[in-house]
Point group: C2
Chain length 348, copies 2
Amino acid sequence: MQNTPSFTVAIVGATGAVGQELLQLLHQRKFPMATLRLFASARSAGKVVECAGTRYTVEEAKPGVFGDVDVAFFAAGGSVTRALAPDAVKAGCLVIDKSSALRMQPDVPLVIPEINPEQLRTHRGIIANPNCSTAVTLMGLWPLHQAFGLKRYFAATYQSVSGTGAEAVRELDAQVHALVNAQPVVKKVYPYQIAFNCIPQVDTFGSDGYTGEENKMMLESRKIMGLPNLKVSTTCVRVPVVRAHSIAVNAEFERPVSVEAARKAIAEFPGAELVDDQAGRKYPTPLDFSRQVKCGVGRIRIDTAFDNGLAFWVSGDNLWKGAALNALQNAELMAREGLLKPKKKAAA
Amino acid sequence: MQNTPSFTVAIVGATGAVGQELLQLLHQRKFPMATLRLFASARSAGKVVECAGTRYTVEEAKPGVFGDVDVAFFAAGGSVTRALAPDAVKAGCLVIDKSSALRMQPDVPLVIPEINPEQLRTHRGIIANPNCSTAVTLMGLWPLHQAFGLKRYFAATYQSVSGTGAEAVRELDAQVHALVNAQPVVKKVYPYQIAFNCIPQVDTFGSDGYTGEENKMMLESRKIMGLPNLKVSTTCVRVPVVRAHSIAVNAEFERPVSVEAARKAIAEFPGAELVDDQAGRKYPTPLDFSRQVKCGVGRIRIDTAFDNGLAFWVSGDNLWKGAALNALQNAELMAREGLLKPKKKAAA
C-alpha cells in the first residue's frame, strides 16, 4: 500500500473479543496507520495493551474523542454504537460498525466486500458489518447464487462460544475443567451447561418463535445479496466449540445446478476455500478454519429434497470473517479505492 | 406383566455400548426374563458382567447357541447380524436387530412401536430397529405427519460420540484431558479432533455425496412412516457431546399448520415430551434428554421458507430410543400382545 496515505485509526471496544482480534489484524495485515487509539468503557480506561511491540493505553470511549480520528472500528455492543457513532460521524470520522444496531437501516450500507462492495460508495458516515453466522454462510451461498440464482435456503448453525464473547469462552473452559476434576458446573453466561451439550438458542426469542440470530440471518442475507424476497429459515445452535462457526445449508436455485459447476464457483470465489474430497475425507471443520481469512466450503452435493438444489457445509472464523476481518477488509478496500481519506496529510 | 410368560433372553454384543444399555434396561423395565444370556466375541468370552446384583459370564457368540433362546437382541455390528441371525431364526429365536444390515430388506419389518407397531405382526423371525438419528427425528416428525401430512423435510443433526461406540467416548474424554493438561491430542477413531470441534461426516460417503447416515435417515424415514415418495435431505454432523443426539428439522406439510396444533400433537404423542416455552427459555438439550425414555421436542415455529411448514428441534438418547430402548420396546409390545411366546413353559 505504498501510495495509500496513513490514517488515524480507533478501535472502540478494544478490550473485547472482537476488539482484540482487530488490534492484531490491523498490525498483521499492515493497515496504513499513522496513529492507533484504543477506546473502551471507563472501567478499562488506563489499561495498557501491547501488540506488535507497541504499548497502547486504553482511553475512555466518550463523546468528543473522535476529532482527529479518520476511521473508527466499533467493536462494542449496539448501545455503544447508538451512543457514540453519531458523535464520531459528526466529527468526520468513518464508523465501521460490528454491532447489529444500524445494520437494517436503509441509509446504512451493510457490506461484505467480496459481495456488495459498490455499497461502500453510498455511506453517510457509517458502514455496518453483518452478523457472524450470516457472513460465514454467504461465503458459500453468494458464489452459488451467482452461478445458479438463489431462490430459498434452509440452514442450521453450529456456533462457537467466542461469538458470545470472552466470558463465554471462559465459561466453557471452566465447565470443562470442573467436569474433568469432578467439581460442580457453574452456569452464568448460558442458561444451560454448554460443555458437552448443545443449546438451540442464540440471541433472544421474537414473537414468531425465531431467535434474533435466526431473523438476522434472513434479513441480512436479503439486504447483502440484494434479494428482498429471498425465503430463508434457519436454526441457530450454540455448540461446545471455542472458535469458528459452521453452517449446514440446503439451498434451492432458479437454474439447473451441478456439483462440478458449484465446486468451480466456490473455488474461484475470493472469500471461500474449497475443501471437498470425499475419498480423502476432506471437508472443513471449525478447528481447521479458526484464524483463517477464507471460509471453508465442502460437502457439496445435489440436494435430494429440492428439484434444483445443493446442500453444503461451511466453516469460518466468527471473530474474523464474522466480525473483525470483514470490518477491516471494508476499510482496506475503501482506502485502496480512495473512499477513505485522512483528515491530516501524513508526514512525508 | 403378571400374565406374561417368562422368556429366555440373549444379548449378542453384550459388552458394547448398546449391549450394556440393553442389559440395564432389561432389568430396569422388568422384562419378564426366566434366563438372560450374554454373548460377545471370543475375545470377551469369560468376562464377568454384573447388573442388578446378578453376575453374568459372557459367552462366545457362535452358531448353535440359540437353541433355548426365545428372543435375542443383536447389539453388535452388521457383520455379526449377517453371520449369526439366520442361525438364531432357524433355532426359532426371535431376532431384534440393532444393526443396519437388514433394515431395508422388504421382508424385515423396521419398527418404532409408537409409529408402525402393526409391522411387528409381519416378521419372519427378524425385527429391525432404526438408525439412531432417524428414530429421534421421527419422535417429532411422526405426530406432526399425523396432524398435517408430511411432504418433505430437511434436517441437520448434532450427534453425540456415543453413537460411534465406547471407544469414541474414550477418545473425546482423552482429547479433553490432553487439552486441559496441554498434552498432544491423539486421533484414532475420528479423522479429525472431536474435542471442541464438529465433524460433518457420520458413516462413509456414497456416490451421491451423502453419507451412509444421511441416506439411512431418508430411506428409513420412508419405510417406517410408510411414505415411499417422501423427500428428505439431511446433513449429519458429529459434535463433542457424550450422549443424546439432537436434530434441527424444517418440515413441509400437505395441510395448513399451526404452532398450537403442532404442540398439541407433540404433547399427546407417547414418544415425545413437549419442552417449548420461549419466555422461560425452555427447550430440549442433549444433556437433559440423556437416559430419558421420551425424546424432547421444542423450538416449534411456523417455518419462514415453506408455505406450509414447521421448524422444530428434537433431542433424544441415541443409546436408548436410538438403539437399546426401541429394541426393548418392540419386544415388550410383542410379549404383551402374545406375538412372542416362550419355547419352554415357565416354571409355576
